[in-house]
């Protein structure tokens, strides 16, 4: 718990090893021809890249949920907004190669629009869109959070309004008139900064960028969690009112992590969209946000590494199951969630930690009144 060291030495080493191994994938992908024993397929690399985006979202969620006790059922929205922001650039980058050979994206031509709506202004610039990918979720989170935290909305009340928010955005984005491609969203991207999105080198670079962002975000979150601010956040989670009486303004702290977390999610979304090749409003569906929560819970919340592990585990299993047992995989996944909750209270990471220090098990399950607070 305590400590100004960000990681223990073995943890640093483990992180370095895993990061290096992950960084090796694209090298193997490029260096060896398909069929070679050491070749890593575009599929495998793409999968891994996609999972890293998910992991980044789960990590961001963990900062607000695991540390600060704010259960967001709307992080999928921030993720999707980041993705849409980058998607706008990618749509612009298609240029006149679309079906209708217009400067406008096909869906706008189809809606008989003759010019870009105002909010598309400047989206031809990659960096502007990158900024949007961070700022749009950030500003939305800030405004939403400011009002919600100021009104002292807590617990499930907060969770449910975040869910209402993402649901409302989903419906809004489904509308064709909203100007983001309606149900189909954005797809059929051609190039990014002049490079073909399907070129192996582009993929490798995207992959590496994702890896860098993930590691960077992990270090950032870890640093925050280990700082005194991290302990204040945990105090917000456990006894917010007590915190006020020793002079902290929980609003600011909550707003800080909440906004930061939304921005990290935006980054994850921005990295996600060129790698999977599509963004559409179903990414904003409430179920997607719940899934992010589940990755964090499966991996072990409040641990930062846990959510990353969780995102990989759940999605890895899902990818495997949907191909291996297409008819039955939901049983397996459902069962996994139940078993994890029942037998691994601290998620996957808990298993390993338990071995590490048995003493930690002495921490009792929170007593009844506290849990009521959490529930209410």
């Amino acid at each position: 718990m305590n400590g100004n060291v960000m990681f223990s030495r073995p943890a640093w080493i483990a992180l370095a090893v895993v990061a290096a191994a992950a960084a090796a994938l694209p090298v193997l992908h490029l260096a060896f021809p398909p069929g070679h024993a050491l070749h890593v397929s575009a599929y495998a690399m793409g999968l891994c890249g996609k999972f890293m985006c998910y992991a980044l979202a789960a990590l961001a969620l963990d900062l607000v949920w695991g540390y600060t006790g704010i259960l967001s059922l709307g992080h999928g929205l921030f993720f999707a907004l980041g993705a849409y922001a980058h998607g706008m650039y990618l749509m612009r980058a298609i240029g006149r190669d679309g079906v209708y050979q217009s400067d406008l994206p096909d869906f706008m031509v189809f809606l008989d629009w003759s010019a870009f709506p105002w909010y598309w202004a400047g989206t031809g610039s990659f960096w502007y869109c990158m900024a949007l990918a961070i700022l749009v979720p950030g500003v939305l989170a800030f405004v939403f959070g400011y009002f919600a935290f100021r009104s002292r909305i807590k617990g499930v009340y907060f969770s449910i309004i975040t869910q209402a928010m993402t649901y409302a955005f989903m419906l809004l984005f489904f509308r064709n008139d909203t100007g983001f491609g309606g149900n189909n969203g954005f797809t059929d991207f051609k190039r990014i900064l002049g490079h073909s999105v399907t070129a192996p080198e582009t993929r490798a670079v995207l992959y590496l960028a994702t890896l860098a962002c993930l590691v960077g975000a992990l270090l950032l979150c870890r640093w925050i969690a280990a700082s005194k601010l991290g302990r204040v956040l945990q105090a917000v989670r456990d006894a917010e009112s007590r915190l006020m009486f020793i002079g902290y303004d929980p609003l600011r702290f909550k707003l800080f992590v909440w906004t930061l977390s939304a921005m990290l999610c935006g980054v994850a979304g921005a990295l996600y969209v060129p790698q999977v090749g599509i963004i559409n409003p179903s990414e904003m569906s409430p179920a997607n946000s719940i899934e992010i929560v589940i990755w964090a819970a499966v991996g072990g919340r409040g641990t930062l590494i846990g959510p990353i592990l969780g995102a990989f585990t759940v999605n890895g299993l899902k990818s495997w199951f949907t191909a291996a047992f297409p008819d039955l995989w939901l049983f397996a996944l459902g069962l996994l969630f139940i078993l994890v909750t029942l037998f691994m209270q601290k998620g996957i990471l808990g298993l390993w930690k338990r071995k590490e220090k048995t003493a930690a098990a002495a921490v009792p399950a929170a007593p009844a009144p506290t849990t009521e607070k959490e529930a209410a």
């Binding site: 305590n2 700082s227 105090a235 456990d238 007590r242």
Partner: protein, 260 residues
């Protein structure tokens, strides 16, 4: 312990640190406080007693911003209108409080509980970059010893016993270095010996901080009140006020509170 640092904005020119003026708090028609008037002087140690439900805790709630008065006003110093300040602003302005039911950060260690309480700028940026300096460390060590939790500093506070939590909360209060300390039943659940220790501690703090203590333990009250004022609350307003021996002899007080 070092003396209280003068805080910005607190104006105690008239020697009074807290004014409660005709404060009324009603809950759905029930008046927990009824036109309560109270003044606490700078450096004073005031004991407040009164029957269960007299409104003592509610009074502290009003002072700390937890409850807003239905009518009347509460001022910290000459200028700070407590009814217009939020809880954290009040705490930041220099009012510290120990709750009747011990409330500590259960998931944090004893050490972290004290660390969080340390007096400093409690903004986001400062907190993010905060490092303990050696003076602060020393102070924490002092306080740990004072509340007799040394050796326990790495235990999660949730694992402490009831009495230990009481102590820890007092410790946090000390770390906060407030100008006005509000102690709601500080010795409830403490053994006689511990009560005596607490009395000693308060006597030590006397003069350096203004202190308001609510207690039902008459022995303890007598020990810390010394020749100072004791206020008796009843049904939301002051029933009697005076030296301990005067109050104890007051018929009304005996009737509603002490019993025969």
């Amino acid at each position: 312990m070092n003396s209280v640092v003068k805080r910005e904005g607190l104006d105690t020119a008239h020697g009074v640190i807290l004014y409660l003026d005709d404060v009324t708090v009603s809950f759905d028609g029930f008046r927990a406080l009824n036109k309560l008037n109270l003044e606490i002087e700078v450096g004073e140690l005031r004991c407040i007693i009164g029957p269960n439900g007299a409104g003592k805790t509610t009074m502290m709630d009003v002072i700390t911003g937890k409850t807003r008065p239905t009518s009347g006003s509460a001022y910290f110093g000459q200028t700070m209108d407590l009814a217009r300040m939020s809880e954290h602003q009040i705490a930041g302005a220099g009012i510290g409080r120990k709750f009747q039911r011990p409330t500590v950060f259960e998931q944090h260690t004893v050490f972290e509980n004290l660390e969080l309480a340390i007096r400093m700028d409690k903004g986001v940026r400062r907190t993010l970059f905060a490092r303990l300096d050696s003076a602060q460390r020393d102070r924490m060590a002092d306080v740990l010893r004072l509340v007799r939790l040394h050796g326990q500093e790495n235990r999660p506070a949730g694992l402490l016993s009831h009495g230990q939590k009481q102590w820890l909360e007092i410790g946090m209060l000390l770390m906060q270095e407030p100008q006005l300390l509000l102690l709601d039943e500080p010795v409830a659940g403490m053994s006689d010996a511990e009560t005596a220790r607490t009395a000693e501690l308060l006597n030590e703090l006397r003069g350096r901080h203004s202190i308001v203590v609510v207690e039902h333990d008459m022995g303890f009250v007598a020990e810390i009140a010394q020749q100072g004022k004791v206020t008796v609350l009843h049904e939301g307003s002051v029933l009697a006020q005076g030296r301990m021996d005067q109050v104890q002899a007051d018929d009304k007080v005996i009737e509603v509170y002490l019993g025969r």
